[in-house]
Subunit: 344 residues, 2 copies
DNA sequence: GTGACTGGTTAAAGCGCTTTAAGGTATGGC
DNA sequence: GCCATACCTTAAAGCGCTTTAACCAGTCAC
């Protein structure tokens, strides 16, 4: 006599499964989470019933009830495909450690603070911030509340964990590569102010000195966009002692450079070698084939997640800075210099 | 005598605020959500206390308790910066309608089905899927469970809402632009199989016919990457009646084309005009300056959110397909043809 | 046969919030 | 004074799940 006017539960709950198998919700919960206790026979019955009813746990309820959220909050700029790549890896690493992810994105109308607050309100146990721009003071204060890992940005403080690639080493590798090919007149197109740019510039200078090329150091004023490359090009060529190779602050600058050079009829790499930084999708374009420095994002994220897990599960309380060596990715914009010249 | 050995509540709860102002949690809840009831005086006291204690509502608890979640789930490919842009707009639009966002990303290890399940488990009331690849059958079934809007992909079914830009109109506008400049030999570099490519190809053919240029229709085999452009270039130039303009399936193909042309010494737009499709960040690069077709993502997302809201709050039950006209963005890769030739 | 286990199961107390019906207190009209 | 009226405020019942202590057979040893 039970017509189908009985409101059909839109979604089965734990209790529906429990009733179905004639057990308590406690047992069902235990089984579904794979916790110890229930016998093999019980497990089987429960799993079968759950599958049959199409049961799926409600995240909000589960989250509210459980002691630990096992949630890691990630803040990112959703418009950056680099962050997207990082996120993909973070996701995978988190999963391996039994954590789940909560995402919060920075947009025009949603700044870093709001993004972080959302994560906090979602009961995250730790935060992974991809390339945050917030002040050191604020982040340090945050870290007193829960473990915070800053990824990909040099951070002048021991108040949080930091995982990043070593920019000076990266640029150093670029110089080494060029010197190895026989280049001597290697210029650097700068990235303007900022901690990242400073590190890379220093890397260039140090490497040049290391190779006894201190007197050939040439840093061209720049920024982080293509325009810097466009403007640097004539300076590189116009000299009476033109450079045979250039290292750009990043790939975008390098692409600007490439463009200006090709317009000016300067063959790359025939007459000039060019190296970028970031290994961006741009640099991988088959017809650009930019030799560049990769930050090895996989390792970056693995360390970031490891840092979180150490503090959450490993009881670590001090802060740590992990600096990874970047890797040079040699493509087609670097080659032997046009002709050897005498040093001096 | 209350030493500070009393466990300090890590986070104030609603009750803490209530105790602070000597009211019930009910009143505090009412005030904080801006619901009607509490007097102005009460409101003020509550807000002051909440701010002083640094109270922030727990999302999980709030979500669990409330009747409606007011959550809209968005599925996207986090590695696509285009999706990132869309998301930013969706976020803004949702907010305006009083909805909150839950994000779920498709990755290597996390397919569309899992992403959607996560959204469902999070109590979303509706789903916005950015460029999903799932089958029509599955999505249609999903839509019986909750409103589903597919964004940016032609979708052969009336089982869900669809919001997309009209590809044939977009390519048509490109043809119009070129014809307006005086081009007659306008070739099209195809994007291979797939619904999107089909629509664009059709747009090209229709527009050419409309201009009485049916006999000059030339569709070059292609794909969706730079390589297609590289391969198309010689075909475009090599003929005894070379094209004066080319429209590419998308920006990546167009960039491949640009590259090959510049290597071959063909001036763009002097000797050949090129138009892409997507208005990707790539096309905006100052030194590429690709004339391209923009899908007007802002409108796309506004319609998508509107569709959701209509079904959630407006009681609409039928399905709707919104097809927006794309917009041509003229940059620097299109100009008058090199020299007029007689038609025929 | 008793006590000490032990493996399996569950009652019950939350998690922190929302929501609604019911309660209280003024106010005003009669 | 008494009742209706309006306005605030709150008690209490969840939301759907987790977790822990308690419980209940069965063993098993002695």
């Amino acid at each position: 006599m039970d017509g189908d006017d009985a409101t059909p539960r839109p979604r089965p709950r734990l209790e529906d499964v429990a009733v179905e198998v004639g057990l308590s919700t406690a047992s069902v919960s235990l089984v579904l989470r794979g916790a110890a206790g229930p016998s093999a026979a019980t497990r089987e019955r429960v799993l079968e019933a759950a599958a049959r009813l199409g049961y799926r746990p409600d995240r909000a309820a589960s989250l509210l009830a459980r002691r630990r959220s096992r949630l890691i909050g990630v803040m990112m700029d959703v418009r950056s495909s680099y962050h997207g790549e990082l996120l993909e890896d973070v996701h995978e690493a988190d999963e391996q450690h039994g954590y789940d992810l909560v995402l919060s994105t920075v947009t025009r109308t949603w700044n870093e603070q709001r993004a972080v607050e959302t994560l906090l309100d979602s009961r995250c146990e730790a935060l992974v911030l991809l390339g945050p721009e917030a002040s050191a003071a604020w982040l340090t204060a945050l870290d007193r509340q829960l473990p915070v890992v800053v990824v990909g940005r040099p951070f002048p403080s021991a108040g949080v964990d930091v995982v990043r690639a070593s920019d000076d080493v990266g640029v150093g590798a670029a110089v080494d590569h060029l010197v190895g090919l026989g280049h001597l007149d290697i210029a650097y197109v700068d990235g303007g102010p900022g901690t990242i740019a400073t590190g890379r510039r220093r890397g260039y200078r140090m490497a040049m000195r290391r190779h006894g090329l201190a007197h050939r150091i040439r840093v061209l004023r720049g920024s982080h966009t293509e325009e810097a490359g466009l403007r640097a090009a004539p300076v590189l060529m116009g000299d009476d002692a033109p450079a045979t190779a250039a290292i750009a602050f990043n790939d975008r600058v390098a692409v600007g450079l490439l463009d200006a050079l090709s317009r000016a009829g300067v063959a790359v790499p025939g007459e000039m070698s060019v190296i970028g930084y970031d290994d961006s999708p741009l640099s991988r374009l088959v017809h650009i084939g930019l030799t560049t420095v990769s930050q090895n994002s996989q390792q970056l994220t693995q360390h970031a997640v490891a840092a979180v897990v150490e503090r959450l599960d490993g009881g670590r309380t001090d802060h740590r800075e992990v600096v990874l060596p970047p890797q040079l990715v040699v493509r087609t914009t670097t080659a032997l210099p046009p002709r050897r010249r005498s040093t001096g």
